[in-house]
Symmetry: C2
Subunit: 299 residues, 2 copies
C-alpha cells in the first residue's frame, strides 16, 4: 500500500471548535490516518499531519475545504504567520511505494477539484510548480491575503487553477509536492554565537551553501552553548551526513567541537540508512536488506 | 502484531521432494510467512527462514518435525556440515514488539512439545540455555549424531527435555533464542592476507576481541584484495560502528585503508539507526522519530 504524507496548514489556531471540526472531518475519511495536529494561537494557524493513499487524501483535503469555507473569513483573520488563504498550504510528500511524480499528479488533481468545486484559485509550488518564479512558497505568499487581489492582477501571477481573483473569504491556496523535511540541529561546545551564525551562513543555500539547507545560528542561553538550527529540505540530494561533516569541519576552524546533534520530530528511515551506509562505507547496500522491510514486503 | 523470526536448520539438502514437502508444511500454517529457504547439497542441509507470532511459529515447527520424522534417517545421512539431529537447530529471534524473554519462553514451550509428541531429546541453547556449558551451539553439537548416544550418557549431558537417549532416526534437536545475526565483511585495500588475519584475531571474541564478534581473514584473489569476514551476534552489545572503527584503526597500524564494507543478507533497522546516531552524535534519539515507525504505529 503506497503511503503519502499530507500536511495542510490552516489559518485558524485560536478557535478550538473550528480546529476540532476539521480534525473530525479528516478522521471521517476511510483510509486516512490523522497522525498529528497542533495549533499556535499567536500564529493563528494549525498544522495537520495525515497519511494515506492518493484517493483518500484527496477526499480528506476536500472535506477540509468544506469546513474552512463555513468557518474561516480571512478578512477578519489576524496572526503572526504569513498566509494567503484559509487552507493556506497543502504539500504532498512521497513516503513509501510512491514517487514524487505521483505526488505531483495528486497535487494537480486536488488543485483542479479545489478550484472547480469551491472557486478557490490555486498556485502549484515546489516539485509541482509549473513556473520557476513560483516554486518557493515564500515568493508565492509574499503580499499575503491583503495584497492578493492586486498581486493576482499583475504580470505572471495568474493562478495555475481557478478564478483570476481571490475567493472573497478564503483567499487562495498553495498546493504542491515536496520531499520530507528534516528539522536538524547541531549544538556546539561553545558560547560564541558568532561561530554558530558563521557556520549557518556557510552551509545554507541562500548565502552560498548546500542547495537544500536552510540554517540559522542561535544561542541556547540556559545551557551556555550555541546551535546551528537547520531544515534539510531534500535529504537525498543534500544528505544529513554531508551537512554534519561540513559543520564539524567549519567548527574546527574556530577551535570548536560538536557537542551533539538532534533530530526534531520525524526522520525518514532512508536518511538514517544512508548515513550508516556512508560512514561504514557499505558497498551495494539495498533497502531490501533491512530486515523489517523484508518482513513487510513478503506476504 | 509481534514479529518473531525462526530459522530452522534441517539435515536434508539433496532430496528436493523432502525439502519441498517441509516448505509446503510451513506455508500451510496460517500466520506464518516463509521468507526464504535454501539448500546446500555438499552440506546436505537446508535453512528455512520464517516469521510470525509465537503460536503460528510453534505450529509450523511441529509440522516440520512430522515431515522430518517421515523422511529423514540420520543413520544414513552424510554431509559436510556438523549435525546432531534431522531438525538440527531451531533459533527464535525477537524482531518487533517482542522481547528476548518472550522468545526464550517460546523456545521452551516448543522444546516441551517436540519432546513429548515426538520423543526427541532437546537441548536449549544461547539465551534459552539453562547451563553455561551448554550455551554455544558448537559445544552442544560436538561429537555429532554418531557420538550422541555416548555423549548423552556422560556427566552433564542429560537433555533439557525428553528421553535420555537419542531418537533412533532423527537424533536430538537444539532449540533456543538469540539476537539477529549480522553477516558483515570489511574489504581492505591491500593484498596482504596476513593483515586481514591479524585484524580478525584482534577483534574476535575467541582470541581476546569483542564479546559478540566472530571473525576470520580471507583473500579475495580475483579482486586482489583481502577481507575481514564477520558474524556480529549481538548488535546491541557489540555494535557495528564500534567494530568498523576498530578494524579501521587496526588497519592503519599496517598502513592499510578500508576499501568498503558489505552487509550480507539482512540487517535490523535498529543496527543502522544506532550507526547514524553514533556518527551524527544525535542526542535523545527515539525509534518513534523514524517516520515509517510513526506511520505504522498510528492506526
Amino acid at each position: 500500500m503506497p503511503i503519502i504524507e499530507c500536511i495542510p496548514n490552516v489559518s485558524e489556531g485560536r478557535r478550538a471548535e473550528v480546529v476540532d471540526a476539521i480534525a473530525t472531518a479528516i478522521r471521517g475519511v476511510p483510509g486516512v490516518r490523522l497522525l498529528d495536529h497542533s495549533s499556535d494561537a499567536s500564529h493563528n494557524r494549525s498544522v495537520f499531519t495525515m497519511a494515506g493513499d492518493a484517493a483518500p487524501l484527496k477526499a480528506a483535503v476536500l472535506a477540509m475545504y468544506e469546513r474552512a469555507l463555513a468557518a474561516i473569513d480571512l478578512r477578519t483573520h489576524k496572526g503572526e504567520h504569513p498566509r494567503l488563504g484559509a487552507i493556506d498550504v497543502v504539500p504532498f510528500v512521497p513516503i513509501e511505494g510512491v514517487t514524487m511524480e505521483d505526488c505531483v499528479a495528486l497535487a494537480k488533481d486536488v488543485a483542479q477539484d479545489v478550484s472547480s468545486r469551491f472557486g478557490v484559485p490555486v498556485y502549484l509550488y515546489e516539485e509541482a510548480s509549473t513556473n520557476p518564479a513560483r516554486k518557493n512558497l515564500e515568493d508565492i505568499r509574499r503580499g499575503e491575503f491583503e495584497g492578493l487581489a492586486a498581486k493576482m492582477r499583475s504580470e505572471g501571477w495568474a493562478p495555475d487553477f481557478g478564478p483570476a481573483s481571490p475567493h472573497e473569504t478564503v483567499g487562495a491556496s498553495v498546493i504542491g509536492a515536496r520531499m520530507p523535511l528534516i528539522a536538524y540541529n547541531i549544538n556546539l561546545a561553545t558560547n560564541r554565537v558568532d561561530v554558530a551564525k558563521k557556520i549557518a551562513a556557510a552551509i545554507r543555500h541562500s548565502s552560498g551553501g548546500y542547495r537544500f539547507v536552510k540554517a540559522a545560528g542561535f544561542e541556547l542561553k540556559d545551557r551556555g552553548i550555541v546551535q546551528v538550527s537547520m531544515n534539510l529540505t531534500n535529504y537525498e540530494k543534500t544528505p544529513v551526513f554531508r551537512v554534519f561533516e561540513t559543520v564539524k569541519r567549519e567548527a574546527e576552524r574556530y577551535g570548536v567541537q560538536i557537542l551533539e546533534s538532534e533530530i526534531v520530530g520525524l526522520v525518514p528511515s532512508a536518511a538514517l540508512n544512508a548515513t550508516a551506509e556512508y560512514y561504514l562505507q557499505i558497498a551495494g547496500f539495498k533497502a531490501e536488506q533491512v530486515l523489517e522491510n523484508k518482513l513487510r514486503a513478503t506476504d
